[in-house]
Symmetry: D2
Subunit: 485 residues, 4 copies
């Protein structure tokens, strides 16, 4: 990969952006510039939307089963080029090879579910809603949809949306993160070469704020799916509110992991470590705060520190690495500032990752595994999303206290409990307010056939991502009432 | 009914508003003032929301089946007091007795569907989403919801929402229209006396703009259902976008009725007349424009005029009346101004209802059945919602031209076709853009077990009103992933 | 109630049977004859079927919502006459008042679910299954269905079937147990007086073997629902196999209750006692064998014996009774013979109910609470259904051994586990072969909106009773493929 | 293909049958013997069932998504070897290449739907079915299933069942028709080489009556799917009734095609010809009787005869052939005897296919396109399934008369109407008794995601083949009620 300029993909063609504004794409593991990404103009977005709009009717009248066949093909293509995509992601986003593999696997799972569209998009029917009058509801696609996706899962997140949208008969414009756009470019290359959706059905435009504005303001865009920080998620939700669009806006998270006194440390500790340091903590499903209930506090703390120390930090694309860098220098500084903040607030820094020992580091944006103890619910580091390899331990007297902390937190993405007791688990899942819950699994993502998304400050909208539920977002239920005379 | 002041119903108690601002409630059939309605303050709305919030947890932990039992009881209560409610509505809103009966029947149908909540709110489950890991999704209520409802169906529209919301375990604040709040007051009296939801579970606050703002801004309100004009629907959608709430916002309509050359006039004409003049045209399902295709234009036009002339206009509560007044003097003037506009634009006023002959009229807000011929798609009266007993006839050469008109119109609520041919009907329902479609039934409302709502400028959001679909609006799908260790 | 002769209810009329064969109906609490029941002839069954057949088309063309209204009414009628039905059941079947109340409550729950038929019986629809070709599936009723129901739940079991069948648009013939037909007679009287299904829609014929043969052989009966012993369930399944009918045949049970070492005895013991002695053990959900795992064996055994000793045995209709008699002298003898058998096989009879102390007993068919210890999996009393207040305790070393016992048993109706550990519960529900499973709830019946039925020797067929599933049994899914030309 | 002996496929291995009884496999286009098929013994069936039973637990505990992956792979394998399978089918069954392609395409569609198993096999869940008690239903596989399939669709029919059964976690034994077993042998070869289900998961046993008996009698077979004549379908249904198994038994058909006076002959005639002569009429969806309503009788008759004369009859595997031979000499004679019968009954033989002109015929079992006119409802040829290229024309005065004929016929598989009028189509689909209905599509098979099967004498059971419905056949819904203490 040379310092090439990423292109847009519009109407079945690769197009160089006309934009004068370009950003460097940096390999987070080395700090090297590996490409440039254009901040496409409003006009470029509008042309992509127009291409999608033009492609709509032919695609919408293609039978669902015929549309599904493209996804069967897409699955094969992604399987065949699996490691090629993985390598690009690891360079582009600084993820370990296994992390890159993991998210591509998830992306493929989305495609697998989209293959079932004939069953998933059925409407319903009833004879004689009144004498001799029948009623049928049918799900019809709406037109052009768009997704604005984040840097932390450059492979997977776009797949949460567009395969379902297209399978339903819509056309699409994807705007990947400008921080690591190489992955989607690579994927689109395979799609262009080997899948061959009709021109205009699937489009990609690179860009930043102007592109986001253009998407949320273009009247031909029927709905927008956003994934990113809560701050921007609120803005996108608000913008779509202004322009009257459908919107599902997934924001940030502060995920609590409650460890009960009976938890099995042999499985709990690796699960927490994985949740905390996977993707260098840059996940809306990252472990944010461990709530140790009762006496388990000390042994848990010690085991976590011991395990965290052993995490092998290094360049994403290298073998045997367990944690890569964060995405950028700016983000590294933001993470470090939260560590400073924690110290300042009086939390106890029991593992300090500010100066990680990374062999052969040539300038990567590394932060080492970091752990605070002694968190209290009112601290900034217990409430704001850090999005780095930093978590804190809080001590609670009992389950009620732990649930209370989860309920009061402004976010509501994911949470989990470690216990062998059914009663504690049920109490927790019933009362804690977060929409994705784990019992002894760490912070787990729902599979592609279940919905993904949170509540409270983590999600704005009503229909979540992927699963059969997302079909509701991408279709309009048309109700047809018939009396033949 | 004396000129009493309508009260709010909060936390299981009837409360006099502290507001200094009161509006007159007028009997549209006579112009008499029959009561006064307070424009409740932000503080009053907030206290209702707080009552609902406090009532939430106990209601949420009540088993769905036990919640359903309140609705079985509610159905009985409404059946037992059917004619009492009907009379109030006819006085309050100027509707004919049959129209009042019709909407109360619809309201009861909503309650009947809500009785099925244990089946309707089921989540899903799958064993072994990974080895030894199971996944369950469960629908949980979110807290306080609210509905802001219009004057034209003072009985029915609140029932599109709150029975489903409550059945799901949420609590609720209803704000009825300030133009005819007596109907809901009457209904709430029966509910209070004979159904007895726990205090705070169901609340009603009367008011105007300030109350609407308070509802859309109160952070404890999780979602808002709005029904009204598209103008306000857009505002409510935008406001909820700003405050990050769930929102389903149903706006206005311009409903096209396409009459094909083979239509059976004996059934078509009454269906159009009913759709045009029911509720004096104040319906989001009103007949707005009749598109006569081909040679049927002349005979259809003549038959419509003849039938419209025979519509008996008079005071709503009287027997044997077929059309009552519009809601207010101001609205009457607005309707008349559209008639002027039509004349000005060159449409052919073939039936003029501006001076209706109403026996013993003591000052009601009557507009007689009005028909324009010679509409063209670019006229104001072919595009804006008149919301009165006025419709226009447009002539189209063929079905394609008719479908084109429907597709280009900014609204997309309902539409229908009159034909005996399957091919025409399918072509129409497949391509015309409106979400509620009739074939030989006029503009028909989906039954309570199907969703209600439009597309384009008629609906903002993704989840429609009532039916099994609305459960998605009133619940959060919590996904629980479990590995027992 | 005098020694009257029970009548049949056919075509909306009460009809005296022409049969010469009549059986005595006995009050099991006293041994008194309280009525006589005719063993209706084949001809009488055929006439009832013919009435149902004639009533079919009008009922089938009645809109589902209109059919549902009968069930809303039926619920009210049953609520209004609740205690009247309860008293008859307690006399007729010897059940305690609370048991009679319990099963009537369950019956009403079935009616409540049937009220939701418009949502439950929807088919599905998909546009463009091929270019321009749409497909709709619609559920259509089939004609006449019939249920043959047992004595142990004379109120509830018929309601598992006919409300759903009728709601779907079928017509029905019920054959209640000839041992306690007075309950259904009473219920049908209320239905006839106050609900008023159209004549022929719902019919009841009393009878025995000949009636059963007539039902399974009449070519106009489209499907049969049976509940009774496995022996007869197999016969009915076979007969319907011969005559090509739909059939769901629910047989007997041997229900294992596994108590893990961590079980909470304070809740476990009452749950077991309730499961064992409720309805004097005459339940397909009765506790048959308690499997005590590990050290809990002794304390559990002692607590069970202590609790069982305190069960107040007496005449069903009296207040404060906890267990009534079994249904007949013949059945009492059968139960006693199993106790003899257990002694003979070497099981340890730790509580002997053969000579129960019943105050003021005038000849009721009482068997007192009976417990064996030392059961082994190969004993007759560990494998055959006793259907009386007798259970045995088996000792297992660990959960695997307990699961093994459940898996090897020829029945597979219900089972349960008592433990606080999620892992044990999941292991058990995943591997034990029975279709209705309880975790810390004893042997619990699924609610009306979930399916009821077992596996292995407890159920023959594929579609279970009640819940949304039973709609599949009572309708034919018609698939309509349309290309309009 | 030499005259080899077909082998069984058991436990992942190709096994030569020990049976002494072998039948010749004949190429129906030439009469040549192309192989021999063993009539496997009961012991061989039992060993296959045993292998399936042994393989069950491991397969059942494989996550549904992992099971689905085998089907993604299977789809690829079948696509890659598409024409190889097609050629075998055309030789083996005498079908034209396009017919062979058509059924393989359908088979692949089944596999595509089975890929969606994680979504399709979800159970349901509800919190608080009672206070603090939750309920989950989960679909669990049952063990070993088996299908007994007919000669007329040697590729497709086995795929109606086993992909769904396996996807649900069951294991399987297929018994293909002994008349054309080479197709499945070929398919299994590809499956064995390139898909690699774990040994024992999928097995195939060739055979005849003894094998069928063995399948229906083996206690480890949990359910049987049968497709064939109604005569045998009844026997299999009865046998499974005796042995207490689940069973879905699809029998024969007599499919009526109603042509209304307004039908478009340009599309109607080819649709009828295709339905009548596709697969030489050997289809349960074959056109059996054309009911010409009113004046269309004459022009329709003439057009049908003209079109039928042009059907190119010849050896299946040759290019440009439109109709191949029937399966065997015996079957040819049976078809001819029906033609004799028709003549004898007084029907008017307007196209006689008894001596077809087939170029270069070397002894194939050819019957040419045959048409009777003047059928009356009581004739044998109007009631019995001929299963050859023979259909009759009946004349009806009006739609009611036509519907009456369909309703009275003992079969109820498929039917269709040709008309442009919605009213006639609705009247027909509502009242005619057959479960698969076409409107202007001839006799069309439901797609893989809808259910396949008839009613009356065409289907015995309740759950139909394929679609989401068949999941109910292949799983047991386990209901788990949990109260954590």
């Amino acid at each position: 990969m040379s310092t090439k300029v990423v292109r847009n993909y519009v109407n079945g063609e690769w197009i160089e952006s006309e934009s004068k504004e370009l950003l460097d794409i940096t390999n987070p593991s080395t700090g090297e510039v590996i490409g440039r990404v254009p901040l496409s103009t409003r006009g470029e977005v509008d042309r992509a939307v127009e291409a999608a709009k033009q492609a709509f009717w032919d695609w919408r009248t293609t039978p669902p089963m015929a549309r599904a066949r493209y996804f069967f093909r897409l699955k094969e293509v992604l399987e065949d080029n699996f490691e090629d995509v993985v390598r690009v992601t690891s360079v582009d986003a600084g993820k370990t090879l296994d992390e890159s593999r993991g998210e591509l696997r998830r992306a493929i799972e989305m495609v697998e579910v989209a293959c079932g569209i004939p069953s998933l998009m059925m409407g319903s029917s009833l004879e004689d809603v009144s004498n001799g009058i029948d009623c049928v509801s049918t799900r019809q696609p709406l037109g052009v949809f768009s997704a604005i996706t984040p840097y932390n899962f450059p492979t997977m997140v776009p797949f949460w949306f567009w395969p379902f949208a297209l399978a339903c008969g819509n056309t699409f414009v994807v705007k990947p993160s400008e921080q690591d756009p190489l992955t989607q470019e690579q994927i689109f290359r395979f799609i262009d070469d080997e899948v061959g959706f009709p021109p205009g059905v699937l489009n990609m435009v690179n860009g930043g704020k102007e592109a986001v504005s253009a998407i949320t303001e273009n009247p031909d865009v029927k709905g927008v799916s956003f994934v990113g920080s809560s701050e921007v998620a609120r803005i996108v939700y608000k913008k779509c509110g202004e322009t009257g669009k459908r919107v599902q806006s997934l924001g940030g998270a502060k995920n609590f992991l409650v460890v009960m006194p009976d938890a099995d440390l042999d499985t709990t500790v690796p699960a927490i470590i994985h949740a905390a340091y996977g993707c260098a903590g840059q996940r809306c499903l990252a472990a944010s705060v461990v709530v140790a209930v009762g006496d388990i506090h000390e042994p848990l703390r010690d085991a976590l520190v011991a395990a965290a120390r052993n995490v092998r930090v290094g360049p994403g694309p290298e073998e045997n690495i367990q944690m890569g860098p964060v995405i950028s220098l700016a983000h590294k500084e933001r993470v470090l500032s939260y560590i400073e903040k924690g110290i300042e607030e009086g939390a106890d820094l029991i593992l300090d990752g500010r100066q990680p020992d990374v062999k052969g580091d040539k300038g990567g944006f590394f932060v080492g595994p970091t752990i605070f103890d002694g968190l209290s619910p009112d601290m900034v580091i217990a409430n704001e999303e850090i999005f780095g390899p930093v978590f804190g331990i809080m001590h609670a007297q009992n389950l009620d206290e732990a649930i209370d902390v989860v309920r009061k937190n402004p976010y509501g993405n994911a949470t989990c409990i470690f216990t062998g007791k059914g009663k504690w688990a049920r109490e927790f899942t019933y009362r804690a307010e977060a929409s994705m819950m784990g019992i002894n699994v760490g912070i787990a993502a729902p599979m592609a056939f279940f919905p993904f998304g949170g509540t409270k400050g983590s999600f704005f909208g009503d229909v979540k991502a992927h699963g059969s539920e997302v079909i509701d977002f991408f279709t309009d239920k048309k109700v047809i009432i018939t009396r033949w005379i």
